[in-house]
């Protein structure tokens, strides 16, 4: 028996496939939120007056500020990809870091916003909320669930971008192989876009 072995490296690299997989995944994310958007539109149709009143209790200024923060973070994310394409490693890492800082800023705002509601006794199952009309219970139910699930996506995004920072510094993501960063960027834009829809639905349409 010959035990001689030689190793050939067979590299399966398919950037288009990786992007395609990510787009499919983003599509499932859209459908996931789509289920909740259906609930929102049907209940808005059922309880137009209650939704009108309840929406006035949300703080439009914090909401607008958070929208600006997320939009800016999408910009820094896109720039970090442009930077790595131009082989500017430390600039790319810096821009990813800024993206994380902005995302954390979003979450801090969210914390204070939710906290204010909680201190007024408006949270799921609370006596204050349950004494309100059915439409308002539904409105705040949807508000907490949809912004909460979006918040979880932001946290996942923060973790993923942190991993990408490490990959970039270790040289796994580099100017000729950056599909990982690109797909995470796509994910981050999706998180941004979902917020772009949540913001008018809850804060602006009163």
């Amino acid at each position: 028996m010959s035990t001689q072995e030689h190793t050939v490296t067979y590299i399966h690299r398919d950037d288009i496939g990786a992007r395609m997989g990510m787009w499919l995944f983003l599509f499932t994310e859209l459908l996931l939120f789509g289920g909740m958007f259906i609930l929102y539109s049907i209940y808005r149709f059922t309880y137009p007056d209650a939704f009108h009143l309840a929406a006035k209790e949300l703080n439009t200024i914090i909401g607008a500020f958070n929208t600006a923060i997320l939009l800016t973070s999408s910009l820094t994310m896109a720039l970090s990809i442009a930077a790595i394409q131009r082989n500017q490693k430390s600039l790319s890492i810096f821009l990813q870091f800024i993206t994380i800082v902005l995302a954390l800023g979003f979450m801090v705002n969210k914390y204070f916003e939710w906290g204010a509601k909680f201190s007024h006794g408006i949270y799921p199952g609370s006596d204050v909320l349950l004494s309100k009309p059915a439409g308002e219970i539904i409105f705040f139910g949807l508000y907490y669930v949809m912004t909460g699930l979006h918040g979880i996506h932001v946290i996942i995004g923060i973790v993923l971008i942190a991993i990408m920072m490490r990959f970039t510094s270790k040289g796994i993501i580099k100017s000729d192989s950056y599909v990982k960063l690109e797909t995470i960027g796509l994910y981050w834009h999706l998180v941004d876009i979902i917020w772009i829809f949540l913001f008018p639905l809850f804060y602006l349409i009163t």
């Binding site: 001689q4 496939g17 996931l32 219970i137 907490y144």
Partner: protein
């Protein structure tokens, strides 16, 4: 996605069963990203859960053998049919064909070395296992097993004190696993087909797994969010569906069926692909109407996603809505019938070899036709209102799901297991067992049509004495069926331990790519990625090796 292949110079390539990767032994299995090994992991875990589901089905039938209490109290009986449904739907039927045979054979059938995302593939299996463990937890955890039925209808599912949350979370995690598999397969079919394999040269099982993968990707997120919302509603008392808080329970039913009806096609479509694969091999004929079979898979996937509300004709819906959903339901029968006619046309004047895989396929066609035609009956509004929630419906969907998808899985096991393990089961035993399974199945479910028609409601613990004879026949049928299944599985296990070794590449004389590689396949599947020239199923006289291969530079 970089991969290193070690090529021994003595020219002997180890099969995937003997291959030594980075990890050895047991770890080499549960940490392997090889699609074939993951397929085997799924094979073992899915069939184990199938036996658990069979056990609950057996217990349901045993309780119903006579009116009144027989073995358990009503609460336990409710738990039995809930667990039977949850396990059979989410842990067996939905993953079975794509995850076992899709994983093992999809890359081979399209001439690839692996799926597009091998690590994601392994993650899907772990999610499956976590989902399965959660389902088991819902049985054993304090509080009592879930008793809502597998449909988790609101408001009962937010009121009952049983372990609904574990069962819901199990289904949610399993949905995640299903989505990731779907994404993987869609990308794989798009990106990794061998040179020369155009869309209309891909084998038909690839078409059906591809269509299924799209359905998995497009509808599973809806059940994911719906079940998650019920979990949130139960945990935090958020008003979303509960009518006491202003919610709309019918909305839950819509969201539930938007997934769960297409899920029926997730179960049956891949099995149809297996039927299309097996018939030409054992009829020694080119498949009749290749393009129609291929495109009817896509049509079923498309129309099947638009018929969900036919589960809710009695739940309150506008007449227009009822009319549209009834019409769409009947439209689905057209592509299904196209397949059945093409299969029978393929058999016509074929040189038929009644090997075990073909026997199960013929039973599939017979039973699927009964299940499908009663499905059209149920789509008729006037009739549906009469037999809604009776055992007629139970018989209908068992004829489609078990008589169709389940028998498709049995056929695939008989067809591909020798290829997967390089061992042949006892064909004589397999043929005789088929008759046990076939007769047992029909004796179990056909009486349900009759008693449902006469008014026996489904899921009832007790019944009037006039239904006794049908329940008795049905229970006897369940014993014959289970006996058959146990003999079938023993036959497989015996084959794996001391079955006759098979070394020839083409065991059944098939024309698809899996029959051109070693038995059992080597770790890399193909040493050189093949170039495909001919369409699949091109049988020519006196020719065994049809496919032409060229080495790719």
């Amino acid at each position: 996605m970089n991969e290193t292949i070690t090529v021994p110079t003595n020219g002997k390539h180890p099969s995937y069963l003997d291959y030594q990767g980075k990890h050895k032994g047991f770890l080499g299995w549960i940490l392997s990203t090889d699609h074939k090994r993951i397929g085997i992991l799924y094979l073992i875990s899915i069939l184990s859960f199938f036996l658990v589901g069979v056990t609950f089905g057996f217990l349901i039938r045993l309780e119903l053998i006579a009116p009144g209490r027989t073995i358990v109290d009503p609460q336990t009986y409710n738990a039995f049919f809930t667990l039977h449904g949850v396990i059979m739907v989410f842990l067996f039927l939905i993953p079975a064909v794509p995850a076992i045979f899709g994983n093992f054979f999809l890359p081979i059938l399209i001439g690839a070395r692996d799926v597009s995302f091998p690590r994601l593939n392994l993650l899907s299996w772990y999610l499956y296992i976590i989902g399965g463990l959660l389902a088991i937890l819902s049985i054993v955890a304090p509080g009592g097993a879930a008793d809502t039925g597998w449909t988790f209808y609101i408001p009962y599912s937010v009121r009952t004190g049983t372990n609904v949350i574990y069962a819901l979370f199990a289904a949610f995690v399993l949905g995640f696993s299903s989505i990731l598999t779907g994404i993987n397969f869609v990308t794989t079919v798009h990106r990794l087909r061998a040179p020369g394999m155009t869309w209309f040269k891909t084998p038909l099982s690839v078409w059906s797994i591809y269509s299924t993968a799209w359905v998995q990707v497009l509808v599973t997120p809806i059940i994911g969010i719906t079940l998650l919302l019920v979990i949130i509603e139960r945990t935090f008392n958020v008003g979303l569906f509960d009518p006491a808080l202003g919610g709309d329970p019918v909305l839950f039913q819509h969201l539930f069926w938007i997934y769960s009806h297409p899920a029926v096609y997730i179960m049956i479509l891949p099995a149809m692909g297996i039927v299309s694969e097996i018939i030409p091999v054992f009829a020694r004929r080119t498949i009749f109407g290749y393009k129609f079979i291929a495109l009817s898979s896509v049509a079923i996937a498309f129309f099947g996603s638009l018929v969900w509300a036919h589960h809710m004709f009695t739940a309150g819906m506008s007449d227009t809505g009822q009319f549209i959903f009834s019409l769409l339901t009947m439209i689905v029968s057209i592509p299904s019938a196209i397949k059945v006619f093409n299969w029978t046309a393929t058999l016509y004047k074929g040189s038929i070899d009644l090997a075990p895989p073909l026997l199960y396929v013929l039973a599939f066609i017979f039973q699927f036709s009964i299940g499908g035609l009663t499905g059209v009956m149920l789509g008729v509004l006037s009739l549906d209102i009469m037999v809604h929630d009776t055992s007629f419906v139970v018989a209908h969907f068992h004829y489609v799901m078990f008589g169709g998808a389940g028998f498709g899985i049995f056929a695939a096991l008989h067809y591909w297991l020798p290829k997967m393990f390089g061992r042949m089961y006892n064909i004589k035993v397999a043929k005789n067992t088929f008759w046990l399974v076939f007769i047992g199945f029909n004796l179990l479910y056909f009486p349900m049509f009759i008693m449902g028609w006469l008014g026996m409601p489904r899921r009832y613990y007790d019944y009037l004495p006039e239904f006794h004879i049908y329940h008795l026949l049905s229970t006897i049928g369940s014993w014959i069926l289970i006996l058959g299944i146990l003999i079938m599985f023993s036959n497989f296990i015996a084959a794996l331990i001391r079955g006759k070794k098979v070394n020839e590449k083409n065991i059944w004389g098939g024309e698809t790519l899996e029959w051109t590689i070693e038995t059992p396949p080597i770790h890399e599947n193909f040493l050189e990625i093949p170039t495909v020239h001919d369409a699949p199923y091109e049988y020519k006289q006196n020719e065994t090796d049809i496919r032409q291969f060229q080495e790719v530079k």
